[in-house]
């Protein structure tokens, strides 16, 4: 078992909700969450669909280990065709929402069509209904959660929702749950907003009881937890410093993209690092960081809970931002900080809070601000067009632009497009730092070569979470590879992509993979789920999921030329650090990767590969 064997289908156009049995044949082939929901998606949706049309669907899916005591077993994913990318999108979130959905008895919820007016979905175990959301429309994520908890008279209801970004068509809107956890990337919140769906409120009292062999499962889960405790990254580094442990490390490597990837090292990296978050501020004698926090079931607890400096210019007279809240995590600190050359920790946290409060992706937002600052620097955008001076390094500009985006005013409308569409609008498409219209995260592929290939071939556009070769190239997990060479990276990227597909489909967090290999996950799945879940089967499931996503993208119109990096990374060598003089070798790695994957030179899975994977 592991699955509840029930899915909820919500037709927003007709306002109906109905229960369906889960396709257990597919569950054996695609496991759950990312894999299984994507299978439903590709079977039901035309790859050519406009992401914002009613014919696009949006699936919220749990994995078989979601809601169990497997460490980090609280994840859920949102699967749709991404508004930002036009590619298959799968955004994963922690917090408590996913486990609650499982506890209510649902493996996944499929939303289809479009509601005529704003609605939210209320789930209390089997009692499911669409409710009017007129009073929630225009409200922030934080307000929405509060209003729903009050009106349901239930502080334990869990909510995911879109903020004003999702309502207003910001192309990279998130779906935020539990105040500051988010299905963040590719504009999944934009799709939700296009359907007039404001929120999902869920309360589950059934629990996740359907474990095949509870005794074996508890033993396997306990053994795997021990592996996390004993590992230096998951046992010490992440709980103590969070993902921010990387800021100084990546900067030292010369792989911290700075000022829209003009530079690879940031002179103020230390000021926005984990170490800085733990130091006492001169203004109030308190540290930025309050505590670490876990998502549901997580024994790592990498999450950061911080309090902003109440005297900082961004929050003067705004007490709603003074309480403890989520952040900063590494990706947000980089995107809002180094990417723009901004070294003001408190300004980054303010922008991060705005991202959480109104639901938009800090990576794409930060990178879009970086592109705007470069356009300003080049004289293509003027002070009048932007509404203020926006040089690299301006914390004032960062803060003002975040507020403009939320209000949908002035230049905020351009920022809402994301960097690819914005740069194209101003005639400089090459200045958008991303792949498939989605912006890079916090690793410069000139200093970490494998990440260039991982970005270029990621099925949801540039992303670190589809094949995190940083683990190998920087941290030596599972084996150390040289970050400055392209040799061997094709096989490395493929191995990471396939394994990650399994973790994302199981209900656990990809951060476990700092310590776990597939061999640590396998006994947990085998004890929890019907059927024999061997290493061989799981390896094949991972590869099958990757190729299924790829085939969808191929059918949506993506070709080999979309598996490429912006010219800057291929022609402008790194100026400083260990990678000085290097560009990314994507053109060498790409054909090697296609070969390793069993794809033809156009990047299409061959007939033999499809047959081998049952696709």
């Amino acid at each position: 078992m592991g699955w509840t064997r029930k899915i909820l289908r919500v037709d927003l156009s007709n306002g109906t909700c109905k229960s369906e049995p889960l396709n257990m044949e597919w569950a054996q082939q695609y496991l759950g969450q990312r894999g299984l929901a994507t299978k439903y998606f590709v079977e039901e949706v035309d790859p050519k669909v406009d992401p914002l049309a009613p014919a696009n669907k949006l699936i919220m899916a749990t994995g078989p280990l979601t809601g169990t005591p497997a460490s980090t077993g609280g994840r859920y994913s949102v699967i749709t065709k991404g508004a930002l990318t036009g590619a298959i999108a799968c955004s994963n979130s922690g917090g408590y929402f996913g486990a609650e959905l499982k506890f209510a008895g649902w493996d996944m919820v499929i939303f289809e069509g479009k509601s005529a007016k704003p609605v939210y979905l209320s789930i209390e175990d089997d009692k499911v209904e669409l409710r009017d959301a007129a009073h929630l429309w225009g409200k922030t994520v934080w307000q929405t959660e509060e209003i729903i908890k009050k009106s349901h008279q239930d502080p334990q209801v869990r909510v995911c929702s879109i903020g004003r970004a999702g309502e207003n068509g910001v192309m990279y809107a998130c779906i935020v749950n539990d105040l500051h956890r988010a299905a963040g990337r590719s504009g999944v919140g934009t799709v939700m907003g296009s359907k007039n769906l404001k929120a999902v409120a869920v309360r589950g009292t059934k629990g996740a009881g359907a474990i095949k062999n509870p005794k074996a499962f508890m033993q396997a889960a306990a053994a795997a937890k021990k592996v996390l405790v004993d590992n230096a990254v998951t046992g010490q580094g992440l709980p103590t410093f969070g993902t921010q442990v990387l800021m100084n490390v990546i900067n030292e490597m010369g792989a911290l993209p700075t000022r829209n990837h003009r530079d690879v090292q940031f002179e103020s990296a230390r000021k926005i690092s984990a170490e800085a978050m733990a130091e006492k501020r001169p203004t109030d004698g308190k540290s930025h960081l309050v505590t670490n926090a876990a998502c549901f079931g997580c024994t790592i607890a990498c999450g950061r809970i911080s309090k902003i400096d109440e005297t900082h210019f961004s929050v003067v007279n705004k007490p709603q931002y003074w309480g403890a809240s989520g952040g900063l995590e590494y990706e947000a600190a980089w995107a809002l900080g180094a990417a723009n050359g901004v070294g003001d920790l408190e300004a980054l946290q303010y922008a991060n809070l705005i991202c959480n409060e109104d639901g938009f992706d800090p990576i794409t937002f930060g990178a879009t601000v970086a592109a705007a600052m470069e356009l300003y620097d080049l004289g293509i955008l003027s002070k009048e067009q932007i509404g203020l001076e926006a040089p690299f390094g301006s914390a004032q500009a960062l803060v003002a632009l975040a507020e403009m985006l939320v209000k949908g005013e002035g230049f905020g409308k351009d920022l809402a497009l994301g960097s690819a569409r914005m740069c194209a609008k101003y005639g400089r498409p090459e200045l958008s730092m991303g792949v498939k219209q989605q912006e890079f995260p916090a690793y410069d592929s000139r200093g970490i070569q494998g990440m260039g290939l991982a970005y270029a071939t990621s099925n949801r556009g540039a992303c670190h979470l589809r094949g995190y070769t940083v683990a190998s190239e920087v941290l030596g997990i599972p084996v150390k590879t040289d970050p400055l060479v392209t040799e061997g990276k094709a096989d490395l990227v493929k191995a990471f992509q396939d394994a990650t597909s399994v973790f994302d489909s199981a209900g656990v967090c990809v951060f476990t993979t700092f310590a776990w290999s597939l061999a640590d996950l396998q006994p947990q799945l085998d004890a929890a789920c019907d059927g024999d879940w061997t290493m061989e089967k799981l390896t094949l499931v991972g590869e099958r999921i990757w190729n299924m996503e790829r085939l969808f993208n191929n059918a949506a119109g993506f070709t080999a030329k979309d598996d490429d990096l912006p010219p800057r990374l291929k022609t402008e060598p790194a100026k400083t650090g260990p990678a000085k003089g290097l560009v990314n070798g994507i053109d060498k790695m790409r054909p090697e990767y296609y070969k390793a994957r069993g794809w033809n030179p156009e990047g299409v899975p061959s007939k033999e590969t499809r047959a081998r994977l049952g696709l």
Binding site: I211, A294, T299, G323, S325
Partner: protein, 160 residues
Amino acid sequence: MQKSLHIDPNKCTGCLQCEMACSFENYGVFNISKSRIKVFDFEHAGRKVPYTCTQCAEAWCMAACPVDAIRIDAATGAKVVHAYTCVGCKVCTIACPFGTINYVADSGKVQKCDLCGGDPACATACPTGAITYVDADWTGLDKMRQWAGKTDTQPRASAA
């Protein structure tokens, strides 16, 4: 030796492994809504606080029960609800000053922590040591030690 659950909220990360362990121990399912220990989240303060019955020596729930359904486990000192005797009148839930004995509509009975017969599943499951099961006479020992470490009779020396 009598032992007692000891809770240190500063160590709690909010992972809810304790709630899952409690529901599994008592009901055989992973279902935090059935847990007898609850972790409360004070978001704006950045605090997570696990809370459950502390097994009062003078147990008002026990005194209030009109049918003697709550009795002391001689081995552990836990005040245990005997479900077959409990009539679900809920008087104990009124008597308890801490709200840690609760009515369960599904069963029509009340439930509370019974220390799992002397091996509390929540303490075993807690990954950070926020919940421990210690000698009842020494529930404050860790805190005492911390303060002792801060007591500095030689102002210039560091209190290592």
